[in-house]
Symmetry: C2
Subunit: 351 residues, 2 copies
DNA sequence: TTCTCTATTGAAACCCGTTTCACTTCATGT
DNA sequence: ACATGAAGTGAAACGGGTTTCAATAGAGAA
């Protein structure tokens, strides 16, 4: 059934015209007589002929494709980012090539070499988890080299040493907002859970937490953990294990909603109620967050807006066909208040 | 900074050799003297030269790319499927081009035309939600036409009228297993929530439900709904609204875990406990399912295995370069028992 | 020293659309 | 009837690799 590939020449000779004419018909060029158009279209439809965009790309020196690099699409935050960015690129007629990075597939020169060989017209780097899997200096060098071949837009905290177009959420501000919200509710003992110092996106939040806690004159509880529910569960246990019930924090800010649901499970297991014994704030406002018990207070980073803006910028840069100056644009985040952090009125009121 | 594109001829003349020699060096052809190799590599590295895979593809008539079509990557089930399939394709050296279908972007001939023009070497169709957005007859015709140009593997219930390579989960069996599990726990009044008759994946489950309920001599409660938490919440309300407390089902099987968490939220709102007043079983064993309260009993369809097997089959077919016979392979599913469906021992024991 | 064989290398054709440029028609104006 | 111009069409060059085939150079054999 797989038909032998027809070329524009096959169509031309069967229709009794030249290849140039077929090309004009296919691309909707106006200077073709109605009669010729019909003759050609008959043959085109007979074979379901579609001109090869590979050959076309060779001539135009444009592949019509952009690349998206992301750590994993299984994290719903990246899925939301990816989905919006994808739709935006498709709407503009570009095909989207996806690349997952992982510890076994670091973003090195072998990796970017593939993007360059395929002549992608631009690259969008989604996500800041990447850098944890490889030496940061190498990443900067690899990206800078990549930028010699195509425009690059990143959606993550700026990579030190890389000057490119960058969109990201003010993660530090979002955590500070969460801290102030909890403080206003009467919480004084607040913990931060998740991330690792290797990850820029995590350390940015952690620093924001420290800064705000310090400003309020409070002692910060910090517990490193990963970015998954499992890590949240384990991290919550580690956080509380050495503390007597009176010394425990009364509120917890998780690095994301995944870690938050893990922590909440641990709290249930320990017999702690949310928000009574422990208020919880997550981050990312994922689809499941309104459905946790209690519904999770969280921070919406507006990934869809971020993804769309980044792609628009990328495509503008692609179509300009020249160097684009690097810049950084910060997107505001929004605290979404639900029931997982109530006012501090319970029996363990502190200070 | 965007360097003027170097070609193999530029490299050749600067290195003082012919283009053929550069080509041989780039592709690791053995018959090149060490001296020539070094001369060429010096220039290649100077310019970070990478041969255009577009030009190479033109000659070889192979793009080195496969396409994945899926309704949305925001549903974690598809994300898991996609992720595994992606990694498998990348491991084999193929680039993955993603296409979302949606009501505004139906899988019609304009859509597949893009795949054909780009000369993708194979297509993987992930997901059975697609068909709800367009007339089923058109879908069959479109896919059959597409198969004239490239191998097609689908991961969803077989599309009527399309003979292609197909992998899917036995959704009917998975629901029947859930019914039997609930029956064994003593439940007699069981409801099915979610999906719509337009979706094959949904109706397959619904039929499985009916068949098993009938076999057990029980009356089936069925409530149509979508595939999202919102739909689950609304559907659960609709299901229970007309029923007196005594007439209510004691257990609910949701079409997926998303619908299940929506329903569970509705039950909480109505003051019903899970599993005390209402046992719940979901489907898909999503990452959040162990973290609901109570942890959700669900069915694991092993999407990663399904995705990998499908891609292996697709690539085998691509590399064979000939027609592949259609077939259907069914993947077993596994009931994952957690705490959202306990034994029927409570005050509302029925029959 | 000369012949033979093999390792290396380059010229040219090929893959398949696109576009420029020149040429042929045919219609309109005079 | 003839000039002018516009519309329609085809030949050929181009884009950037790959591969075949022929040619050359250098090594080993006689």
């Amino acid at each position: 059934m797989l038909g032998e590939r027809k070329t524009i020449y096959d169509i031309a000779s069967e229709a009794g015209v030249s290849a140039a004419t077929v090309s004009r018909v296919m691309s909707g060029h106006p200077n073709v007589s109605a009669k010729t158009h019909a003759k050609v279209m008959r043959v085109v439809e007979k074979y379901q002929f579609r001109p090869s965009s590979i050959a076309r790309g060779l001539y135009h020196q444009a592949s019509g494709m952009v690349g998206f690099i992301l750590p994993s699409v299984e994290n719903p935050y990246y899925a939301a980012l990816f989905s919006a960015a994808h739709d935006e690129a498709r709407r503009a007629g570009y095909a989207v090539v996806v690349y997952h990075t992982s510890p076994t597939e670091p973003l090195d020169e072998a990796f970017t070499g593939d993007l360059i060989e395929r002549r992608l017209e631009g690259v969008l780097l989604l996500g800041g988890v990447v850098e944890a899997t490889q030496p940061p200096g190498d990443l900067a060098q690899t990206l800078t080299l990549l930028m010699r071949h195509m425009p690059l837009v990143t959606i993550c905290p700026p990579v030190p040493g890389v000057t490119c177009m960058n969109f990201h959420s003010d993660l530090s501000a979002s955590v500070r907002q969460s801290v102030r919200h909890l403080h206003a509710l009467g919480h004084r003992r607040i913990a931060f859970l998740g991330g690792s110092y290797q990850s820029r996106s995590a350390s940015e939040r952690e620093i924001g937490f420290m800064v705000e806690m310090n400003k309020l004159g409070l002692t910060a509880f910090c517990q490193e953990a990963g970015h998954t529910p499992e890590a949240g569960e384990l991290g919550a246990a580690r956080l509380l294990a050495p503390l007597s019930p009176e010394a425990r924090p009364t509120a917890l800010i998780a690095i994301n909603d995944l870690v938050a649901i893990g922590a909440m499970r641990q709290f249930r297991r320990m017999g702690l109620t949310v928000p009574g014994d422990m208020a919880v704030i997550g981050c990312d406002n994922q689809f499941f967050s309104p459905y946790t018990d209690p519904p999770l207070t969280t921070v919406d980073l507006h990934p869809a807006q971020l993804g769309r803006a980044a792609v628009q910028q990328l495509l503008a840069s692609v179509e300009k066909r020249g160097d684009s100056p690097g810049f950084t644009q910060v997107k505001e985040s929004t605290l979404v208040v639900r029931e997982s952090c109530g006012a501090r009125l319970g029996r363990r009121e502190i200070q």
